[in-house]
């Protein structure tokens, strides 16, 4: 039995190579005197504005992190939830964080509660933190969604930030939030991208959600990692082109290497 799992040798080497490239990019960014360039992400920039708008209108905000378990999408969504909570604490805006939606997501709920609490603590407004506002609604997906719709109308939210993993209920949540005049910011999953693009005021497409933590931190090292991942994308595109051309000439070496 070999040390490496059959069919995963090349992917493992490529992964290590990517780690090195991203690490190198992070170190370069650390040495640089100014922040590495990163394109504007309208959806993330709009968060602060929408929470401030809610504050001016004396309306609360709702910030959901989806129904995923501890996956990378949910972790990124939690980063955004923390950021929304910080802005809400700073502007003295009430925030509601609905938890639940799936059995797997219940494990994230205590984490989300702690993140919101720490956000208030960081802003020196711990006295404004309401533990009851980070509320577990249900582990059933549509019961969770229905309760959120009730919350949107009952609290008359001024901004709705739905990031992370959502199913078809994201259409209902976004439409109901629009109905009460809230600014709607949604991270579009590939499956629900078309619907969210039609409803939301701002959408975070694909990697924009995953880069949120780094983008919002304004930390050069973290932003440097985004440049490193771009090198990886260039590498992937190059591999795709080489693979397509090679296949036309009857060479399937790349498909065999990557066990496709």
């Amino acid at each position: 039995m070999s040390l490496l799992v059959t069919g995963k040798t090349v992917p493992f080497i490529v992964l290590i190579g990517l780690f090195i490239a991203i690490y190198y990019s992070m170190m370069q960014a650390q040495k640089a005197k100014e922040l590495p360039y990163i394109r504007k992400v309208a959806g993330l920039d709009a968060i602060e504005e929408s929470v401030e708008r809610s504050s001016e209108m004396n309306r609360p905000v709702i910030a959901g992190y989806g129904l995923g378990g501890f996956d990378t999408g949910t972790l990124s969504a939690l980063s955004i939830t923390g950021y929304v909570a910080r802005v809400a604490a700073r502007t003295r805006t009430e925030i509601f964080v609905p938890a639940g939606g799936d059995t797997g997501t219940s494990i994230v709920y205590p984490q989300a509660a702690e993140i919101v609490r720490n956000a208030y603590d960081d802003e020196g407004r711990l006295e404004d933190y309401k533990a009851a506002n980070v509320i577990f609604l249900s582990e059933s997906q549509f019961a969770w969604a229905t309760a959120q719709i009730g919350m949107i109308h009952e609290k008359n939210v001024g901004a709705a930030v739905f990031t992370g993993l959502y199913g078809p209920e994201v259409a209902a949540l976004s439409e109901e939030a629009k109905d009460v005049g809230a600014v709607v910011i949604v991270s579009g999953d590939v499956r629900s991208l078309a619907v969210t693009a039609c409803i939301a005021d701002y959408i975070l497409i694909g990697e924009e959600l995953y880069a949120a933590g780094a983008y919002l931190s304004k930390d050069p090292v973290q932003i440097g990692s985004i440049r490193g991942q771009d090198w990886g994308k260039i590498f992937a595109v190059a591999l795709i082109i080489i693979g397509v051309v090679a296949l036309q000439f009857g060479f399937n070496i790349l498909t065999a290497m990557f066990n496709i």
Binding site: A99, P110, I135, L137, L216
Partner: protein
């Protein structure tokens, strides 16, 4: 602050466990597999406790609504009663019990199905607002949606047989291409996120802030 509450410990544990799972995915090391199996079991146990914690939160919140008799308190009361009754039945009969099975099939399942079908109208409402000839992008969206809609609707093929090949082309090439492009970008973003976590550079999901406290 107690030593075990320090953020550095959470960061170290998160990074270390990530490395263990990453290596286990790629390497044939039985000892590593034993560790990941054990950690997965811990995850299941912690998730069960977390559900319990979630229900404690739910009872506290809805209990307060009932106690203070705020507007719509009877819905909260009904929720609590239903939760208690189904939980007791579930503990007594198990998940495959006749009464719990009856409730699931005839109440929960139907309500879920109802909500799912309502989502269609939300989508139609969003489509009505968005599909307009006001810019090149929205016009393309309108045309694509029209073609795919009539490709899937039985009447489309009766009106014109061309809807089927055009709709299939849109789904198989432009849509598939974009979905894979987004998928690739998510994969690389996840790798970068994983490295930031392993190196302890990203911890916003641990403490809600990227500033060291």
């Amino acid at each position: 602050m107690a030593w075990y509450q320090r953020k550095e410990i959470s960061m170290f544990l998160t990074g270390a466990i990530l490395v263990v799972f990453l290596l286990d995915w790629h390497l044939n090391i039985p000892q590593l597999r034993a560790v990941t199996d054990e950690l997965t079991n811990w995850g299941v146990v912690i998730a069960a406790f977390a559900i319990g914690l979630g229900y404690v939160s739910m009872f506290q919140n809805y209990g307060k609504k009932v106690q203070k008799q705020v507007s719509g308190w009877y819905y909260a009361a009904w929720l609590l009663i239903a939760t208690i009754v189904v939980s007791i039945l579930g503990i007594y009969q198990g998940v495959d019990g006749s009464i719990t099975g009856y409730i699931y099939t005839n109440v929960t399942g139907i309500l879920d199905g109802t909500f799912y079908s309502i989502a269609l109208f939300y989508m139609a409402s969003a489509a009505y607002r968005s599909f307009k000839f006001r810019s090149i992008e929205s016009s393309l969206l309108l045309l694509s949606a029209f073609m795919v809609l009539l490709k899937n609707a039985p009447v489309g093929n009766v009106i014109w047989t061309g809807f089927n090949p055009i709709g299939t082309f849109i789904m198989n090439y432009p849509v598939m291409g974009v979905a894979r492009g987004v998928g690739i970008s998510i994969a690389f973003a996840s790798i970068a996120l994983a490295l930031r976590v392993i190196l302890g550079k990203e911890y916003s999901f641990l403490a809600g802030t990227s500033e060291a406290k």
